[in-house]
């Protein structure tokens, strides 16, 4: 009851400013919109770990010095960085998804949802950005430092594990945070294949209510807020990992 009153108060207040938020009082449209926010947050929460884990794997491949590992990843990185995410998503959904459906004997047997394809395409795209950042960090570790570790009897893997990754991760953290911010924004492409994230839900509302400006204000505030939180968490991690006397 308390909640309803607050909503009513908000609608009233905004109405006096000339902004129409009346749909919030209706059950159905408000529900769609709330679900849209939740879907976007869920999408972001699932895609971030996917991008980080795959990014680390990609970076390991890129710096492996083995052509059969680095060349395909390098190719994928260049492809995904230089073509629109929307086109990748449409291609994946219209082509790969259809191929999977045909292989499984019909769309009804295909377990892959549009949601899956958004996570996969956006996750791998941002993973490529992370991989480039981490690769840069790994290659920035001075070769004399690696020789010192080798001279002490570290194996290649131990050098990666104890020396290169800790240093590379710190060096690439700002770039990784930027990647995550672009990940948050990229989740909106789900709109194109009817994943009911927040922009899709907003279209549903404003085609009924014609209150684009009102919804836009909230959308911009919403994305600013998520990205503010991502940036804050990033700089918190950066501070936690900062090494006294070591400027990066």
């Amino acid at each position: 009851m308390q909640d309803m009153n607050l909503t009513g108060l908000f609608i009233d207040l905004m109405g006096r400013l000339g902004l129409n938020y009346e749909f919030l009082a209706t059950g159905y449209e408000a529900q769609i919109w709330r679900d849209g926010f939740i879907t976007t947050l869920y999408l972001v929460a699932v895609t971030i770990p996917v991008s980080l884990i795959v990014g680390l794997i990609f970076a390991a491949c890129l710096t492996s010095g083995r052509l059969w590992l680095s060349a395909p990843v390098r190719g994928f990185v260049e492809l995904t960085r230089n073509t629109p995410t929307l086109v990748q998503l449409m291609f994946s959904f219209l082509v790969l998804n259809t191929v999977v459906s045909n292989m499984l004997g019909g769309a009804q047997n295909n377990p892959l949802s549009p949601f899956f394809w958004v996570v996969a395409v956006v996750g791998l795209h941002v993973a490529a950005l992370h991989a480039e950042a981490i690769r840069g960090g790994i290659e920035a570790v001075p070769s004399s430092m690696i020789e010192a570790a080798r001279g002490m009897g570290f194996s290649q893997f131990e050098i990666l594990r104890y020396v290169q990754i800790p240093l590379a991760f710190r060096a690439s953290l700002p770039a990784i945070v930027n990647g995550l911010i672009s990940l948050v924004k990229s989740t909106t492409v789900g709109n194109a294949i009817a994943v009911s994230e927040i922009t899709y839900a907003s279209i549903m509302v404003w085609t009924q209510r014609d209150n684009v400006v009102e919804l836009m204000i909230v959308l911009l505030a919403f994305f600013s807020l998520i990205n503010f939180v991502v940036a804050r968490v990033g700089s918190w991690v950066e501070r936690r990992l900062a090494i006294p006397g070591y400027g990066l």
């Binding site: 430092m145 002490m152 104890y162 090494i243 070591y246």
Partner: protein
């Protein structure tokens, strides 16, 4: 430390026989013969680019020569084919570099403890105790929790020495360890090395500190153009040699040169 029983004091711990090595077209070592006994302190001197540092890297299996025999503490280094075997050797041979190369993301103590615990699998409590003793030895006990970036060059280099010693090596290689230091911190590092040699640690030094080499070495080796021109006692190499090249090199460096001035300081 199993191999150390096999090599008594006075027995050869390092033996290089006719070692040839080239990087691409450049011939760096053109037939090096060198024997170093356990407990000895050997200085390798000579002009830049004469292959001094490469000799150390051969002993530690960081580079593999094209031909020749290298025996280190009973191991035929030139016959090691697998990286894992080379790693086994490196655990027994400590090396300290010109650019200290401490791990910047770890504290001084963790820099020393990392390799023994992670690479040798040593007990952490015991290793921490050892690390503190070593820090005492290099006179940096109060810096245990500092990060490398907060230390001076000389302090970092002393930590690097402690880090090498924490692996309980059978011999230690010093690769121009004072060349990157400010003149005023050279002395403190040399002091630590001198203590170490007095304790009987087998040491091979590539150095430009002529006075220091003369003072602490059992044997001095002069290299030029990938060959050992001469070797002998410090007295022989620095004072009684007939070789004009050595006389020129030694005279040029110690006759009021930077090395002599630096050496006098802080000792």
């Amino acid at each position: 430390m199993t191999a150390s029983t096999a090599t008594e004091t006075g027995a050869a711990i390092v033996k290089l026989e006719d070692v040839h090595l080239s990087f691409g077209q450049t011939e760096v070592l053109k037939g090096i013969d060198l024997t170093i006994n356990k407990g000895d302190a050997v200085s390798i001197i000579g002009p830049s680019g004469s292959g001094k540092s490469t000799i150390l890297r051969c002993i530690n299996a960081l580079v593999t020569p094209q031909s020749g025999k290298i025996t280190v503490a009973g191991t035929r280094v030139d016959q090691l084919t697998k990286e894992s075997e080379r790693i086994q050797l490196r655990k027994r041979v400590g090396i300290v570099f010109q650019q200290y190369n401490l791990f910047p993301h770890l504290t001084v103590l963790d820099n020393i403890v990392l390799a023994p615990t992670k690479i040798l699998g040593a007990d952490r409590t015991a290793t921490v105790k050892l690390a503190r003793e070593l820090l005492e030895k290099v006179r940096l006990s109060e810096k245990a929790d500092a990060y490398p970036g907060q230390l001076s060059g000389g302090q970092q280099q002393r930590v690097a020495i402690a880090r090498a010693l924490a692996m309980k090596p059978e011999l230690v290689l010093f690769d121009e360890v004072t060349s990157a230091l400010d003149p005023e911190t050279v002395g403190e590092v040399l002091w630590v090395i001198r203590d170490l040699i007095r304790d009987g640690m087998t040491s091979i030094l590539v150095t430009h500190e002529m006075r220091f080499a003369e003072e602490i070495s059992d044997t001095v080796v002069f290299t030029e153009n990938g060959r050992i021109v001469d070797h002998g006692s410090p007295q022989q190499i620095f004072h009684t040699t007939d070789n004009p090249r050595i006389r020129q090199f030694v005279g040029g460096l110690s006759g009021g040169g930077r090395g002599a001035v630096r050496d006098g300081e802080g000792i």
